[in-house]
């Protein structure tokens, strides 16, 4: 954690896989002049294919902003952000929608399930618009919810809802799985269930995964941990061994 601030071009610590996300001199600011808020300042980043990355840092440090840009929900004020050969910085709304639709799976702190659809239907909803989805039952089995297919979100616990959200995110076999505080609203045990679902998806679907968390313990699951502060990445930590969620000490 107290490692040196990495330079922009530093090769990632793990393996020789090509970077899948690339950010260079990424800036995002809100407002202008004196009152401007700089959420991201000249941020550089490479994330490798299949990597499990945890983003950690104090509130307001720009984690969500970064994730939203990587996920094509938001666009930077300046700088470059690319997913493979997709330029995300200058893309228009339609291109970003297509990018999200084809390549990205999202999980948020609030589960954002459609209340009028059952667990299975919530997952099917996304499968319907995906190019090569797995079956909804398969995705729900991956998160350990085979027995709750016909339940509405209102009939599920928070953790179960979040696992449905994970299933919904992975059913399309996304290239990238982006999670913003997925366990923020959950207790330890439930959090572990959700994290293992995410970790399994990362391994079995091969989705490059970025998880934002306030919980330093979760960092043990990651290939790399990126520490953010003041709109920059202030430290990068590489784990030699990824812990399974069960091994995490909360």
């Amino acid at each position: 954690m107290d490692g040196a601030v990495p330079s922009a071009g530093d090769p990632p610590a793990t393996g020789g896989a090509p970077p899948i996300f690339v950010a260079r001199a990424l800036c995002k600011s809100y407002g202008s002049g004196e009152a401007a808020v700089h959420a991201l300042r000249d941020l550089d980043l490479d994330i490798l294919q299949g990597e499990f990355v945890v983003l950690i840092g104090p509130s307001g440090s720009g984690k969500s902003t970064l994730l939203n840009i990587l996920g094509g929900l938001d666009t930077p004020s300046s700088g470059r952000a690319a997913w493979r050969d997709h330029e995300l910085a200058g893309a228009d709304e339609a291109a970003l929608t297509a990018y999200r639709r084809e390549h990205v799976g999202f999980v948020f702190q609030s589960y954002n399930l459609i209340p009028s659809l059952t667990a299975r239907e919530n997952v099917e909803l996304v499968a319907e618009i995906a190019r090569d989805p797995m079956r909804a039952e398969e995705a729900l089995a991956l998160v350990g919810l085979s027995h709750r297919l016909g339940h509405f979100p209102g009939q599920l616990s928070g953790g179960e809802q979040q696992r449905v959200a994970v299933a919904r995110a992975i059913v399309k076999r996304p290239d990238a799985l982006l999670c913003d505080e997925p366990t923020g609203a959950l207790d330890v045990e439930t959090g572990k269930l959700v994290l293992s679902a995410i970790s399994r998806a990362n391994r079995e679907v091969g989705a490059t995964t970025v998880v934002i968390t306030h919980n330093a313990a979760i960092a043990g699951m990651a290939d790399r941990v990126l520490h953010m502060g003041g709109g920059r990445i202030v430290a990068i930590e590489a784990n030699r061994r990824r812990l399974s969620p069960e091994e995490l000490v909360w």
Binding site: F108, N112, L125, G154
Partner: protein, 786 residues
């Protein structure tokens, strides 16, 4: 300013689209109320003022010729206050260039000069005739305006076959001719009918009435019994050819005015109440939903320890702002439209002045009522929220009002995308029902505006294509032997003729009575065809009288019952006759007999008093002229003229209300659809945003939200069409007008237009909301839920 007040103002600004559409909704309800009630009160006010100022008589009687020496005797009748005799007569007017001969009536002014004691004239221009100048005349304003007659001009009239010229010295209104039309016609024909007021000497000479009178008008002393006075009057006048005295109720102008006022009162009450009810209901629903959409805010305030009262007061203020805005709009628009409506009455009712009266209580009442309805909706919604435990309120509303099990099976094998709108509708059935009802109610508004055209079309078609099939109707000066018909048949341009015998009668059944003309028709008549409810021609059995359905209702009799027929002519005998058939009529009230049977009843030979004609259109113009010059022809009424007047006068009135109500229909449709969509967006914005995050396109997301509304609209429109039919029947059932019967006919075109207007309004609202969906801020939407 308190924090909540600031929130209220921000809400008003943030929800300005909704605030505006709701304010328009309130405005529309208030406007209709202000317009209709204001119009009614203004007409009523003008009538009362004019009647009082001009000493409008209360009892009227016509005689053939009675000596003036009878007058003191009549004045002695207990209960009579002021009595005045005068001479009146029908006149033909020689008006160069008139398309159709101009008819008229001449009324005498007192021998001594000056105003009569009763039915005083209200001079607009000029003066009354000098007592010694027999060639001077005052002309009624209706004809003077229509034909641009000015004082100083000459007018030539044929009185009793003699041509006489009068110089116009004044233009006036008269309380007995507020509504003027040719006798028997329910529409004014200002260009074709003239009223002249001249010195008695001039009329008396023309009609051989020196020292006599042919008409009597009187007022009653306070507390006097009108029937008693009429009975006594009838007794005194009987030897002189009295035609039956009657009260104001049977005075043509008054009767028509009262009918119209009654009609206006119906419209002033039913339509605005229906309309206002709908607006209030929508207000209730829309505002209720708006509050519900803020349930988390409310729950949060409550969780923070805010007491309920200030929260409720906060929303009450919000409602007050919206209602105040709406009521202000409504009063301004209503007063403006009321003036316009009143303007529409000007050609009908000639009052010296007809100011638009808007009593202060009316807008206040309207505003207070809308505020109350709105507040009810809001408070009900608020109570539902405040009753929830704080934690429950903070969570999104549970989706399944239907049992989760039942809902889970909804949609079956449909795609998940199709299930969202479907379950949105079924998951909250009450709200869905209310929304649909709200949209459905927009349809009758448009239909209520448009159906008048259909009704009038079918009225004209029934009356003039099916019943009155002649092109003209000629009144003879006196009953003539039936062979007079053959003479008329020989006139150039006449294709077919049929004689009729028409006599004034009073029909009585139990306590009810009605004064009208009884027509005797030849068997198998083709120019006037009585028809039953299924429009099949009816042969009138010789042993009795046929009544129109509406007349029978008024008299409270049915087929087979007996009515007393008092003939108000000649020997004035009474007969007891069975009602042998019921027939349809649209305009006026009808009583019919077979002509032979009628003449036998009168103990007269084969006599006719009127002739119906079918005419070659090319020869018509010349024929009217020819008829006008025949000495025994009293008046000719021409169907084409009648239809033209009908079109001009009625169509304009109908157009005004059609435009107004259609406009309101649109406001309702937009109000409901737009607000439903906005509230749905407000409630489910995050749902839509998260779908966008998952890669759904704008169009796909919009389809989910608007699909729900589209389904609601598609179900609501047919429902609205059915409701429209019901409302039309309700309104027409509430009116009771003897001048016109308006059939509840709604054409497919009207239905289609109403449906399209509502669909269009819904589509426009959807487009506006669609643009908001396009602008959804994904990041912000996600953040708001965190």
């Amino acid at each position: 300013m308190s924090m909540l007040d600031r929130k209220m103002l921000r809400d008003v600004l943030a929800l300005r689209g909704q605030v505006l559409t709701i304010a328009l909704l309130i405005g529309a309800g208030v406007a209709v109320l202000v317009m209709s009630v204001g119009t009614f009160l203004s007409l009523r006010g003008a009538q009362q003022t004019f009647y009082a100022q001009s000493h409008f008589a209360e009892v009227f009687a016509e005689v053939k010729r009675a000596p003036r020496t009878l007058l003191p005797q009549i004045a002695e009748i207990p209960g009579v206050a002021i009595v005045e005799g005068r001479v009146t007569g029908e006149a033909r007017v020689d008006w160069p260039g008139a398309e159709v001969p101009v008819a008229g009536r001449i009324v005498s002014l007192p021998l001594a000069g000056g105003q009569p004691a009763l039915n005083r004239l209200r001079l607009l221009v000029g003066r009354l005739p000098e007592p010694t100048r027999h060639e001077e005349a005052v002309i009624h304003a209706a004809f003077a305006e229509a034909r641009r007659v000015r004082p100083g001009e000459e007018i030539a009239v044929i009185l009793n076959g003699r041509r006489q010229s009068f110089r116009i010295v004044g233009i006036a209104h008269s309380p007995e001719f507020v509504f003027t039309s040719r006798p028997g016609s329910p529409l004014p024909d200002d260009r074709g009918y003239v009223l002249l007021f001249v010195n008695e000497t001039a009329v008396a000479r023309a009609f051989d009435m020196q020292g006599a009178f042919s008409e009597l008008v009187l007022t009653l002393a306070p507390g006097a019994s009108e029937p008693a006075v009429i009975a006594e009057l009838d007794r005194l006048l009987q030897p002189w050819g009295g035609r039956g005295a009657h009260g104001r109720r049977d005075q043509p102008s008054h009767r028509f005015l009262e009918d119209e006022l009654a009609e206006q009162r119906t419209l002033a009450v039913t339509v605005p109440l229906i309309f206002f009810g709908i607006a209030a209901f929508l207000l209730n629903v829309v505002l209720g939903r708006m509050v519900e959409a803020q349930r988390e805010q409310v729950a949060a305030l409550k969780a923070l320890g805010y007491p309920s009262f200030p929260i409720a007061a906060h929303y009450a203020k919000f409602v007050a702002v919206v209602c105040g805005l709406g009521a202000a709009l409504g009063v301004a628009a209503g007063a403006w439209m009321g003036e316009g409506m009143l303007g529409n009455y000007r050609p009908f009712f000639r009052f010296p002045e007809m100011p638009y009266l808007l009593p202060a209580w009316l807008p206040l009442l309207a505003a207070a009522a809308s505020f109350a309805f709105a507040l009810l909706g809001v408070l009900a919604a608020l109570r539902r929220i405040l009753r929830l435990p704080a934690a429950e309120g903070l969570r999104p509303p549970r989706p399944a009002a239907l049992g989760a099990g039942a809902l889970g099976s909804v949609g079956g094998r449909l795609s998940a995308r199709a299930k969202i709108p479907l379950r949105g509708l079924l998951g909250r059935p009450i709200r869905t029902g209310l929304t649909m009802l709200g949209i459905a109610l927009a349809v009758p508004m448009v239909v209520l505006g448009l159906f008048w055209w259909d009704a009038l079309d079918s009225m004209v078609a029934l009356q003039f294509d099916r019943i009155e099939r002649g092109d003209a109707f000629v009144a003879l000066t006196d009953p003539r032997p039936a062979r007079a018909v053959r003479e008329m048949a020989r006139l150039p341009g006449v294709l077919a003729v049929e004689g009729q015998r028409i006599v004034p009668v009073r029909l009585r059944a139990a306590q009810r009575s009605h004064l009208l003309a009884l027509s005797g028709l030849p068997e198998g008549a083709t120019l006037r065809v009585p028809r039953d409810a299924d429009l099949r021609p009816v042969q009138i059995p010789r042993e009795g009288v046929a009544l129109s359905r509406r007349l029978a209702e008024r008299l409270g009799v049915r087929e087979g019952d007996r009515v007393q027929v008092e003939v108000l002519e000649g020997a004035r005998r009474s007969h007891d006759l069975p009602v042998v058939a019921l027939v349809e009529d649209i305009i006026g009230l009808t009583a019919l007999m077979e002509i032979g049977a009628l003449n036998r009843l009168l103990r007269e030979d084969d006599l006719i008093s009127h002739v119906a004609l079918r005419v070659d259109p090319l020869a018509a113009q010349a024929l009217w002229q020819l008829l006008a010059e025949r000495p025994r022809v009293a008046a000719t009424s021409v169907k084409a003229v009648w239809l033209r007047v009908f079109d001009e006068v009625i169509a304009r009135m109908v157009l005004t209300s059609a435009v107004i109500l259609t406009g309101f229909g649109i406001i309702i449709a937009v109000g409901v659809v737009y607000n439903s969509a906005r509230v749905a967006l407000q409630e489910r914005g995050w749902e839509m945003a998260s779908l966008r995050v998952l890669g759904f396109t704008r169009q796909e997301v919009a389809r989910l939200l608007l699909g729900e509304l589209a389904v609601a609209v598609l179900i609501a429109v047919p429902l609205g069409l059915a409701l429209a039919q019901g409302f039309v029947a309700l309104i027409l059932g509430a009116r009771n007008n003897e001048s016109f019967d308006i059939p509840a006919t709604i054409s497919p075109a009207t239905f289609a237009t109403a449906a399209l207007v509502v669909l269009g309004a819904a589509a426009a609202s959807a487009i506006v909301v669609r643009r908001r969906i396009d602008r959804l801020d994904l990041v912000a939407a996600l953040k708001a839920r965190e």
